[in-house]
Structures are given as C-alpha cells and as structure tokens.
Symmetry: C2
Subunit: 504 residues, 2 copies
C-alpha cells in the first residue's frame, strides 16, 4: 500500500491540529457506526434489533453533535486565511474545503432528527427483513411511511430546492439534480429498448441447476485472490442483501449471497470487491478524516460495476477463469464451451429482480425506482399504492409480471434503510464506469490481454492513481474531469452496450 507523505505546511496554525483531532474522533465514531451496521446485517440475532436501534440512534446523535459543534465552526473560520494560502489540491486545503461543506450541511439537521433517523433505519430494515421473508408488503407500510416522513423532515432542514429529491440526491451525488438524472435516464431508456427488442435467443439453461454452495464459495475466494485481496485485511460474509463496509483502515468487509440454483454469487462478490477496492485504495494519509471514503455513490458504483461487468462479464475474464469454474462445476459445464458460457452470462432477458438483471435491462429497473421514489417523496404516490404502481411499471418497461411483493417492491432493502435517492447512482455508476474504462484502456493498452492472463494489478493501480487515492478530496464532477477529461456523459456507455451486444 502506498503511503503518501502528509503535506502539512510547516507554518500550519495550531487550530489545524485541534480541528484534525476532533475530526479523527468523529471518524472513529463513524467507524464504530459502521461496525454496528455491519454487525446488524451479518451477526446480530434478530431479537436484538430493538436494542440496537437505540444504540445506533444514540451513537449517531453524539457523532453528529461532536461534528456540528460551534468549536468546529470557529476553527474553520479561524483557518480561512491559512486555507487561502494553500494549493487547491493539497491535503490541508481539501480537508478544510470538504469539512466546511459537510459542516454547513450537517449543521442544519437537529441532533434529535439525526438520532431518530438512525434509530428508525435500524427498525425499518429489521421490519423489511421480516416483510420480505413473508412477502407481506402491508407489514412494511408503516415503516416505509415513517422513513419517508423522516426524509421529508430532513429535506425541510434545507433551503427550498427545485424539488425535494434534489436535497437527498446531494448527499449521494453532490452537484447532481433530479432533472439531470432524468435527462441521462431518458437517453439510457431510448438506447435500451431497441437492444431488448433485438436481443438474440441464447441458451443459458446451463446456468440453472444445483450449484454446490461450497464450490461457489471456492470460486468467489479464487476470484478475490486473483483480484489481489489481502486475506488478513479483508473478509467475506453472507447476507440477504450484499454490501461493503470499511470499519477502519485495513479492514475491508464484503458480503455476498449464495443461491443453490445459480452462480449469481460470483457476480455479487465481484461487485462488492469493486466497492472494497475503492475504499482500500484511499490514501492512508486521509484516514480518520472526512476525506477517507469514495467521493460519491455513483463513483462508488462505477467501481463495483466495473469489476462486476466490464471485467466480470467480459470475454477476457472468462478466458482466464472459465477453466477454473469448469473444474469446480464439471457436471454443469462439461458440454458448455467458453463462448457459450460468455453468451449465457450476458443474455438479455427482462426479469423481475434488479440484482439478477443483465447490463441492458438493469437500467430500466433503476429508472422505475427513480420515478417511484420521486413520486413518493413528493406525496404524489401513497405508500399503500406502491405495489400496484411498481407492478404496472414492471409490465410497461420490461414486460414482466411480478409474482409477489417479495419478488417486486420488497426486493431491495434501500428504502427500509432510509436510502431514498440512492438508486439513480447505480445507473450513473454504469455511465461513469465506461468513461473511466475507455481512459484506462487508452493508458494501459493491452488491458484485455492482461485480464485474459488473470493479471489485474495494472487496472487496480490505474484506478487507484486516478480515482481511489483521492478519497473525497474532489467532488464527483471534478474527479470525472480530472480522470477522463470530460463531464458525465451517457454516450460511451450507450456505445459500449451497443457494441457488446451486437457482438454476442
């Protein structure tokens, strides 16, 4: 791991040391919250959920109070003259810039509301778990209503935006608006529908069957080893809804989900690896500061979708890994050659479940969620009417009849976890992933050949250099220009889909 020297100027005022000390404590408490969150998904006995909700509520509130204190505001104010002497890219300038932005934003939220949001998230996720298992949307209704009410109260803490959605989106994708998302999504939708129409019939029957979990676990481990995971600093667990968490420097945790009926877990693991390698690659000098994470949700998803799709569903990757997979599942894959396998894992097929979707139909799942949550937030759609609205759009966009709420509106935990306005960042991540990929290919030359040889180090290093190491130093709209020379643009992604799927 690269440890860059900390560029503190010799004349840094004493206020800076005091600010960094407070920020390190706030970061420590944030990491504690991460452990509690990870634990509640991976380890906590279900009956522990009520007590846990109180714990995270208390911890979240105290962390918030520590950060938005007058003391932090005073220090930021007294450090303004120093900040103005610094290079924009420097560590200290970035720290002060991002801390000030966070402080001004978070200071608007009363501590009681912060605590209530943390608490409610814990309860609603537990309720979602049960509701999903029972496919009982009604049991989830009061929790979702409560979550939306809390999001609305959160929005009211800010000056009026063009629409409430923009306030929430700012937390995940600074600088982005719902109107911009709508425009990008219109472009994706227009490009996607003909690809679905034109999708060839592909036999992928060999991807259904009885795939031993043990062999799936081994496949996942081998892929992570090849990608370069240090087993003394990473771990992989099982959850219903896979996620990634970094509870501290050199502590990267992925989760995945195994189904005996298919090998989806492999793509899920590669996806979460993309999140993990982003957090892993943040300059260790940024640890215990507000800069120590990915710069936005879309950038994060660009990394996860890169490893899941641009790598994990590519011909070169399977040139490398298919022989191993075939050894692990000889009965299933004996009569399936590499080309047939690659066509199979890329088959375009509208289906009910987002995380199972191919690259073409995936974005329509996101467009649907974006439209529905926008309506929910503005009160144009009642929570009770959500399943009907969901099912109608599934029919309209994908021609899919939803068989149950568990397979429909209850499939994702996001809204239960209070993540409203998060979904668009998946598709924005797809878009960014190809913009970055084109630049990586230009810089690295024989990237496909490297991947086909099972060599991922140069790609990982390119990502680290151009994206990961910066953490939150630069906003997403700055970082994409620095990394690719241009702003966010759906064009490359649309071309990628068109080219990939015409070649299958």
């Amino acid at each position: 791991m690269n440890v860059a020297p900390v560029d503190v100027a010799a004349e840094a005022p004493s206020e800076l040391a005091q600010l960094k000390l407070i920020l390190s404590h706030v970061a420590d408490l944030g990491h504690a919250e991460t452990v509690l969150g990870w634990d509640s998904r991976v380890s906590m006995p279900p009956h522990g959920a009520a007590a846990r909700a109180e714990i995270v509520g208390t911890l979240g509130r105290l962390t918030h109070e520590r950060f938005v204190s007058d003391e932090v505001g005073d220090l930021l104010e007294r450090l303004r003259p120093y900040e103005e002497t610094l290079d924009y890219d420097s560590y200290d300038a970035s720290l002060l810039r991002v801390t000030r932005r966070d402080w001004e934003r978070q200071r608007r939220i009363p501590a009681a509301l912060v605590g209530e949001i943390w608490r409610s998230n814990g309860l609603a996720v537990a309720a979602w778990d049960d509701a999903r298992a029972a496919s009982d949307f009604q049991a989830f209704v009061p929790h979702l209503e409560r979550q939306l009410e809390l999001r609305q109260r959160y929005v009211e803490c800010f000056p009026p935006a063009r629409e409430p959605y923009d306030v929430l989106l700012e937390d995940y994708e600074p600088g982005m608006t719902a109107a911009q998302v709508e425009a990008i999504f219109a472009e994706l939708k227009t490009a996607t529908l003909p690809l679905i129409e034109a999708a060839p019939e592909i036999d992928d029957s060999f991807l259904s069957g009885d795939f031993a979990i043990g062999a799936q676990e081994e496949a996942g481990r081998l892929v992570l080893d090849a990608f370069g995971v240090d087993r003394d600093a990473w771990r992989l667990d099982i959850t219903t809804h896979p996620f990634q968490a970094k509870p501290g420097l050199r502590d990267i945790r992925l989760t995945t989900h195994y189904r005996p009926g298919d090998i989806h877990s492999l793509f899920s693991t590669m996806h979460e690896f993309g999140h993990g390698v982003y957090e892993w690659g943040v300059d260790p000098a940024l640890a215990r500061t507000p800069l120590d994470s990915g710069t936005s949700s879309a950038f994060h998803e660009s990394q996860s979708r890169t490893w899941e799709n641009l790598v994990g569903r590519s011909r070169p990757f399977w040139r490398f890994f298919y022989p191993t997979l075939r050894e692990l599942f000889p009965d299933h894959l004996r009569d399936v050659d590499e080309e047939a396998f690659v066509r199979g894992v890329n088959k375009v097929r509208p289906s009910a479940i987002r995380i199972d979707a191919d690259e073409v139909t995936y974005n329509l799942h996101i467009v649907l969620r974006f439209e529905l949550e926008r309506q929910l937030l503005e009160g144009r759609l009642a929570v009770g009417d959500l399943p009907d609205a969901w099912n109608a759009l599934m029919q309209e966009y994908l021609g899919v009849a939803v068989s149950s709420d568990a397979q429909g509106v209850l499939q994702d935990m996001h809204w239960g976890a209070g993540l409203v306005a998060y979904f668009p960042t998946y598709s924005l991540g797809n878009v960014i992933s190809v913009q970055l990929w084109e630049r990586a290919v230009a810089d690295l030359g024989d990237l496909d050949e490297q991947i086909a040889r099972g060599e991922f180090g140069a790609l990982r290093e390119w990502q680290r250099e151009h994206v990961h190491r910066h953490g939150r130093k630069f906003r997403p709209d700055e970082l994409i220009v620095r990394a690719t020379g241009g702003s966010i643009d759906a064009g490359p992604y649309v071309r990628y889909l068109q080219e990939k799927y015409s070649g299958l």
Copy 2:
C-alpha cells in the same frame, strides 16, 4: 421472558427522568463498545487492529466523559432527598445507589487515561494473539509492561489501599480484598493437595482422538437447545479464547473453541452459557441502566462454573446426554459405558493449561496467577522474569513441566486485555457456585432427577429468581446473603470436591 413493571414512584422528581436519559445513552455507548470488542475477537481482519484501537479509545473516552460529567453529579446530589424516601430494594433506590458508587469511582479516572487504557487493550490483545501463535513471550513483553504501567496509573487515581491489588479487585469483586482472597485460597490449596495425591488412576484415553468438528458443533447446539437457548436471541461463534458478550437486550453471544483432538468445546460452551444465562436473566426493566449486568465477576463465574461443572460434569447430566453424544461419536464411544465416561471427564490430572483443568487442579492454576500478578503489580517481579517464575510455580504446585510459553505464560489473554486481578474471581466463583447449588437443591428437591431427564427449566428459573434478575442492584456480599443466607465460604466447595472425588 419476565417483564417486571418499573416501580417509579408517582412523585419521582424530573431530575430522575433526566438522569435516566443520560444513563440510557451511556449504556448505549457501552453496548457499542461491546459490539466492537466482540467484533475484534470474532470478525475483525487482523490488520484492522491498529485502527480499531483508536476507535475503542475514542468511544471509551467519550462514554466516560458523558458519565462522569458534573451534570450527573448534580442530578445525583439533587436526588438525595428523594432517594432517602425509597425502599432499599426498589428499582430507583438501587439505580441511584449504584450510579453514585460508579460515578464517584469513575470520576477519579482522567478521560485521557481511560482512552489510553481502551486503546492499549486493543493493541496488547492483538500482540498477545501473535505472540501466543509464535510462542514468543519476548514479543509480548513491551505490551505487558505497558499494560501494567497503565494499571499502576489507574491505581494511583484512588486513595491508597492496603495494597494496589485491592484497587483493581474492587472493579471485579466489590468489597473483596487481596488478603481475603489469600485466606480463601489457602483453604482451597490445603484441601486440594491431598485430593491430587489420592486421585485414582482412571482410563480416559477415549477422550483423545479425532473428534469431527461438525459433530462437536452439533453436540454444542443440542446442549444449548436443552439448556433453553432461544436461537433468535443468542449466537455461538468460534474464538481462540472463549467469552460471552451482551451487546444489548435480547442479544446474547457466546464463543467457544474447537479442537479436533478432544471434546473440550462442549465444556467451554456450557461455561459460556452460564455467563449468557446470567445476562439474559437480568430484569429487562434494568436495561439501559448501570444495573443491567451481573453484579460481580465472581458471581458471573459462579454461574458459568455451575453450568460447566455442577451440571456439565455431573452424573445426572450424562445420564441425559451421553446417549446423544455416543450417537454423534460412535467410533470413539462404542465401548465406553456411561460410568467410564463420567469418570473420564472428571479425571484429576495436573496439566499445563488452565481451561483444560479438572475441578481439583483448576484452583491451583488460579492461585499461581493470583500470586504472580500481585507481584507484577507491585514491581516485585519483572515482566522479563515472568516465564521463569510461572514455570517454577507450575512445577511446585502441579508438578508440571511447561513445554513452551504458548503452553505456559501466554495461554490466557487476560493480562493482554488489561484484566489484572480478574483471575481470582474464577475460584471465588467456584466457591459461590456450590453455596448457591446447595440452596437450589434444598429448594428444588429432585434437581438431580430433573437434570437426568434433560429438564433444566427449574434450575434456570431458580437462578433467575435468586441471582440473575437483580443485575447489579445488590453488591456481591449482599447478594450471597440474600440468596444463601450466609457470606462467602470455601467450606461447601471443599466438601463438594471431597465428596465428588471420593465417589469416583
């Protein structure tokens, strides 16, 4: 679970509500620390240890600051008149009494020292892990020296006691002194040595072999089911050093340790169950207060040793469970009848490892640790000389030659975790366990017959009624009188050992 009504008097002053609110937040933060501690032993990748030490240091310091604040002191002062109107046994009187005692004690410790102790514990446990794995005591020396130095600084926060050890012991066993421990231990030592001399030759060769971990896991699960564990509120994991943790109401976590060469895991699991059932049985009305845990370490150990030994190594228990164990290990146990098995698991045999010790030799392991840590704390023994001193006492008390530091001075994590003066509570727990057991037998009559039928509910309920539900309402010296009618007394335990071992 029994939910007792909260006995807040109608005229409770508003200061009480404010105090309870603060205490609930302190308890929440304590539970967060418990999750972090559990995670660091069960889940955390080893390279995460350095970051984790900072996190627990920060959290521990903030929790401490919140509790020892002037505000809490003022509230306690203003609540004195109200407290004087209350019945000693009432919830509010107990809360105020225990909170005042904790506040006055903890207020003496500077927050910086608290943070440093938490931080250092995290680092030293990680160092102990590595040192033990490598059997390299030298690598652990600076950490142990640091831990002792911090304990000495901790002791200096208090008025001089008869000896420094007494200050530390007060945290684990309020009201107990090293001199009292010494007297009890002298009695145990005197009674123990002839039992070792007189121990018959017993064939327990069938307890060594290749015991499949999967079958051991199944045996542990079946025992916990029989003991009455609710799988939606408890969990069982694997650690090098087994422990129990309660990160919140209805969230009870045990760990155990499997070795393929024997079935020690079963006794380890029963031991931790005893800790868990104590925490589980605390009146839920005490949740999120300082009363919400066992009253002392010795009382805690009395419960763990009860389930491990008085139940788990008894004839009646194996009357119930031996047929099941035999089914799980048919090849090992086919030719071993129940009587031979019971004799085998109770065989007196001096050995190097404390957690493997039979009930007779066990206390000598504790006496040894008590003597050494008392000398270490007073500087009469240098850390560098500890392995020689350890090995000499092992030879003197048990006639055992220690083969390596891993099998000797490095076998326990306690000193690494900062637990100096904790060890005596294991033997005090043995002593208390039999005092309680005699009373339970008197109250329940056919306890042996119940256990032989696999019925543990009445015993559990007796423990809950007389010990568990009170949490920390009563000091250990009060609780033992309430539960048994007398003070701590080694006599019953000595008689128990003499009778048990003369009957084998």
